[in-house]
Symmetry: C2
Subunit: 409 residues, 2 copies
């Protein structure tokens, strides 16, 4: 089927999804989870074919991401069941206004319509993204990476079976069949058929969407996150947080990439840091290099999302310098200050223009689950619509429903 036909089918299914009750959507999600587990064997065979073709063409890390087993499928099913358990965002009344002329106005959350997601090779994104978009009352069009296509197709087949069993249209979930660049371009420009496009993946994919899309896009992901250790920091707390933010999971977007240290604490702090995280390559500004050994930092090191055991380190003269540096180099994801000085913290929290700003905590908490949203579709680094973790509410739009008895203006 062409991508355009698939989009038309998704679009035709959106009214049924929008009208579905919470119970019906939850029943569908549970049936999708069951179908995923029931079809485990065929999903694993499809995955084996993907892995075989990919062997030698992609890195071991990528191969591991692509690879499925019974446990991973069970945890995908569990993820869908967790989405079923979350409150339904659709129909929530966000504000009520009663006007002097008798008009009753309800600002009410409603589904987006068709949500398209362009992603790369992790098969679990297929089920996560589908569950979230469908629970939010939208039809869902998935466009995954070529390497994972057979796995994704087997997963989507199971999920569609679950939808059908609960009386919702299978067409509300589409996996784009065309895995060439052409189909991604079609999604980006399908004005009137795609209500929201979410790219989930590397910086290149996200840039391509932002530059080429004429449909509404939410940018997700890139995180050059900073931790600033103030002159008034508790050094033990700062060591714990920097270690956690850098090393607990270096490959994720909320991991720390840059450490800024106030000059007054640098001589004491940096040697202890070096001893604490010996597995991390430190890329040092000249003043940091005068205190501890490490690789001299190039300019690009302060603008790089390493996603690895690498940390750029810079000594700054003041809180203000730290804020200016972050303003120039942050991707607006998550940035933290470690300090006992409440005034310095307030200045930092107010001045740093990022989705999440922290005082005395690790940047690793920027996550839908950790924020109490129950789930997330990604972390938005743009300012329009959703900023930070996007949960079910952020996957909805709203409309004004106005009831009168003949009012004219």
């Amino acid at each position: 089927m062409t991508t355009f036909e698939q989009l038309e089918r998704a679009s035709a299914a959106k009214a049924a999804m929008a009208a579905a009750s919470t119970e019906q959507k939850n029943r569908a999600l549970l049936a999708m989870a069951d179908a995923l587990e029931a079809r485990c064997a065929s999903i694993l065979s499809a995955n084996a074919l993907d892995l075989e073709s990919a062997q030698g063409h992609i890195s071991d890390v990528m191969l591991d991401r692509l690879s499925l087993n019974e446990n991973r499928i069970a945890s995908m099913a569990e993820g869908i069941r967790q989405v079923a358990a979350l409150p339904d965002p659709v129909g929530q009344v966000l504000r009520i206004v009663d006007r002097p002329n008798g008009l009753h106005i309800e600002k009410t959350a409603v589904p987006m319509g068709v949500i398209a997601i362009i992603y790369e090779s992790r098969p679990n994104v297929t089920s996560d993204a589908a569950a979230l978009a469908l629970k939010a009352g939208s039809a869902c069009v998935l466009r995954g990476g070529k390497e994972a296509h057979r796995s994704a197709a087997a997963i989507v087949e199971a999920l569609r079976l679950g939808l059908e069993r609960s009386g919702l249209p299978q067409d509300a979930l589409q996996l784009v069949e065309d895995t060439t660049r052409q189909s991604a371009n079609e999604l980006m420009t399908a004005v009137g058929l795609v209500d929201l496009l979410i790219p989930r993946g590397g910086a290149g994919l996200i840039r391509a969407c932002v530059e080429n899309a004429t449909v509404n896009v939410i940018e997700t992901g890139t995180g050059i996150c900073h931790v600033y250790v103030d002159a008034e920091a508790d050094p033990d707390m700062a060591l714990d947080i920097v270690e956690n933010a850098k090393t607990s999971r270096p490959s994720v977007c909320n991991a720390e990439e840059v450490l800024l240290v106030h000059r007054d604490i640098a001589e004491e702090f940096l040697p202890r840091l070096k001893a604490r995280i010996p597995q991390v390559e430190l890329r040092l500004c000249p003043r940091a290099a005068a205190i501890i050994p490490g690789t001299p930092a190039g300019d690009i090191d302060f603008d790089t999302e390493f996603l690895d055991y690498i940390l750029a380190v810079k000594v700054v003269d003041s809180l203000e310098d730290a804020i200016v540096h972050i303003g120039e180099h942050s991707t607006g994801h998550s940035d933290a200050i470690i300090t006992r000085d409440a005034r310095a913290a307030q200045v930092f929290l107010r001045s740093v223009d990022s989705a999440a700003v922290y005082w005395n905590a690790s940047t690793r908490f920027t996550d839908g689950g950790e924020f109490g949203l129950g789930c997330e579709m990604g972390i938005s680094t743009q300012k329009l619509h959703a900023r930070g973790p996007m949960g079910l509410e952020e996957l909805c739009t709203y409309k004004y429903i106005i009831t009168g008895n003949g009012q004219i203006r």
Copy 2:
């Protein structure tokens, strides 16, 4: 100055705007209003030059829009004072989450940063848009039409004087000096310098922004609004509402352009309508033309924003047909049903996917003031971020402010 330099200046001023207190912003707005009135004479001279150059090149309606007088300037000043009186959206805590691990999370409204507005020739948009953007804590970059440039420059000069008098940076308000197409393109693609772009004007301008912009855009304006007169409508109420929605101000986006009438009421209703609004040219579908005289409607008449005393009329077989027609032809702005049947109304309100859906009231109420927002920057017809009237809250974004005592993950 080049547009890029102007954007850099606005960007440099945004921190001061974001940090300004409510009192400081309100003082600035009142000083801006005073300066506008104090400089009335020089604004009128500039306007006279604009009018002179435009004479013969633009229509009389456009000339009237462009033209200023003392009363119009006084009402622009009054508009700014009204914005000063509105509550400050910045710093509002939208949600508080206290996590089991002790993290305290506040989702807080913060300014966008730099808001750019591309508009056409109404001088009053200059002061309205500036007041709203500045009150929302953002720097504001205005790019008006060539015909009104001297007027806009005189207005902005006065407004900047007001800013300066109250201690806020003049550079927070910029009127783009280059009035060629080049500057509009620069604004559309100034990623990192423009946080939000709002086009205010005709369909061509809005389409150009949506197609070419790489910065975040909110589409405003185009309204092909429908009124559906159901079989169970009170015909007197329906006549009042159709007359109001069509004729009270035909040139605005919330005016009715298309009337749908249920077949069971058409024979009674259409002759009364014809008599009620004789000044309106009716473009009739064949079934309507069999009942009353009028112009036969071409296909395009059901997809045209007339903004004039013209109404396309179609007889439909059912509520469902009305909903399908609206789904295919509405611009998603405002659509109404007139009926005594609560069930039919609920189906309509749920199924019609527009920013504002009305039961027994005129579409003309879609307006920030009428919705109780106090003001508006425009009416969004997109689903992302803001839908319907955009007030001060919709001109803000939010961030998560997280306070801990050493939490790691």
